[in-house]
């Protein structure tokens, strides 16, 4: 016959078997930066009220399923806590059964810790609706609740709401990017609809930024869309980009490419670059502190007319979808600070061969903008720089 225990008896038995530590011991360890993994095993509504600084939240119900993603080393010191030291003791026993050899339950729990005035942090909590909408993100270990909050608090500016901007804006909004800026002065034309999927037939003749804003807010009403219905120029770009974390460049001409690059370097903003031609596409990330800029790769613009635009040369309608979504992916990776970004690498996509190749590119020490002795220290006339008639006004 199996043994019958009350909850108090079970807890007493478990606490006699697992290792425990006091909150003061934990505080000392954290102050000394000891190598340990701190896990909060409480439920979401408890964590919403606050969490110990440095802790990772894994609710007890998922602990055994997710612990190996959080820590695979069976001998690493793992400190668990709950509200008052009971659930964390039970959880510690469970991890010991999985072969974790150095698991400790913090006796006083979060209640004791916060009452003692030890450091806690209250993180932005997701609403019930957000937990449902982004549930497929939340169960990915690299994203989770923390990552989703980063996405929701991010601000991304899309330069151009055309071939590249359409798919990237649409997917970034779906992913939960909190603020999306759209900059475009154009109106929707029937010839756009072969690829610019954020606009519809009924939008023909309407401003692209307005059409895109409506499509985005139908998909995700919580996305704050800021429309900039203007031509991006040297005299307005710094003011526009200052409020954004990441700039996604999907424009269609060389003067704007150089303008966006220079402004991003001067403002210290990452610039997620994509460009397309017929069946070929390039994507990379220019990050002022971490890699080359556009001018490192392309010090001089090509002669005017040497490189036709999509309007002139045509483009496979699906191509900007592929490249725009690579840009969206890179933007999300920057927001999450996960994975290997395309900083310092350029990706070349050949749709006819169906090949992707990446190669490393270095910062140019003699770059006039981001090199050791910069000569470009403010924005210039980019039309003139690219050999076109100087910009009016």
């Amino acid at each position: 016959m199996s043994q019958r225990l009350s909850s108090q008896e079970l807890l007493a038995q478990v606490k006699g078997e697992v290792k425990e530590m006091s909150m003061e011991e934990l505080k000392d360890k954290l102050d000394r930066n000891d190598d340990l993994v701190l896990i909060d095993v409480r439920e979401q509504d408890e964590v919403d009220q606050g969490i110990i600084v440095g802790a990772t939240h894994i609710p007890r119900g998922f602990l055994e399923l997710r612990i190996e993603n959080a820590e695979s080393d069976r001998d690493r010191e793992i400190v668990l806590y709950c509200a008052g030291g009971n659930r964390s003791a039970l959880a510690a026993q469970s991890l010991e059964a999985m072969g974790y050899t150095n698991v400790i339950s913090m006796r006083e729990g979060y209640t004791g810790w916060s009452a003692a005035g030890f450091p806690t942090v209250q993180e932005r909590a997701l609403s019930k609706e957000e937990r449902l909408r982004y549930s497929r993100h939340l169960i990915v270990p690299e994203i989770g609740e923390k990552g989703q909050v980063k996405i929701l608090e991010s601000k991304v500016l899309l330069v151009g709401t055309g071939g590249l901007g359409s798919p990237s804006a649409y997917y970034l909004a779906a992913a939960g990017v909190g603020t999306i800026g759209l900059i475009d002065f154009d109106v929707v034309d029937v010839t756009n609809l072969q690829r610019q999927i954020i606009h519809g037939t009924s939008d023909i003749g309407r401003p692209k930024v307005v059409s895109a804003q409506e499509t985005i807010n139908d998909l995700n009403p919580d996305c704050n869309v800021i429309v900039h219905e203007t031509r991006l120029m040297a005299d307005n770009i710094m003011d526009i980009i200052k409020d954004y974390d990441i700039i996604v460049d999907g424009c269609d001409n060389f003067p704007t490419r150089y303008l966006v690059n220079d402004a991003c370097v001067l403002a210290g903003k990452p610039n997620v670059h994509g460009s397309i031609y017929q069946f070929d596409g390039y994507a990379t990330v220019f990050h002022p502190d971490k890699g080359p800029c556009y001018r490192c790769l392309y010090p001089e613009p090509p002669p005017p007319g040497a490189v036709p635009s999509c309007d002139e040369a045509g483009v496979l309608g699906v191509l900007p979808g592929t490249v725009g979504l690579i840009q969206a992916t890179e933007a999300l990776k920057l927001i999450l600070d996960e994975g290997d970004s395309l900083i310092g690498r350029i990706l070349m996509y050949d749709a006819l061969d169906m090949t992707f190749q990446t190669f490393n590119v270095q910062k140019d020490p003699s770059c006039p903008l981001c090199g050791e002795n910069p000569t470009v220290t403010e924005l210039i006339d980019y039309e003139a720089f690219c050999g076109f008639a100087p910009a009016a006004g």
Binding site: G163, C251, P302, A306, V307, S309, C310, F359
Partner: protein
């Protein structure tokens, strides 16, 4: 020595007629550099912005080696 040359995007029109799978096979003397390929294919100045030799970022002055795969990329700015 023999090198394979791949041209991308706007540069494809400079491929010789006997190119197979968008790759030209060219013969050069021992001292050849990437710039010799550009001269032979008559690609105008300012049209090439990135050169990749066997997967490494290179320049017009980079010496060629037998069997090298050389890729030329033009700048492209399209996005709309």
């Amino acid at each position: 020595m023999t090198v394979s040359v791949k041209l991308f995007a706007t540069l494809r029109k400079y491929l010789p007629e006997d190119a197979v799978n968008k790759t030209a096979t060219l013969e050069f003397g021992d001292e050849a550099k990437a710039s010799d390929i550009i001269a032979q294919l008559e690609i105008p100045d300012g049209h090439i912005h990135l050169i990749l030799i066997d997967g490494k970022h290179s320049s017009e002055d980079t010496p060629l080696t037998d069997g090298a795969v050389v890729s030329f990329f033009p700048p492209i700015a399209g996005g709309a």
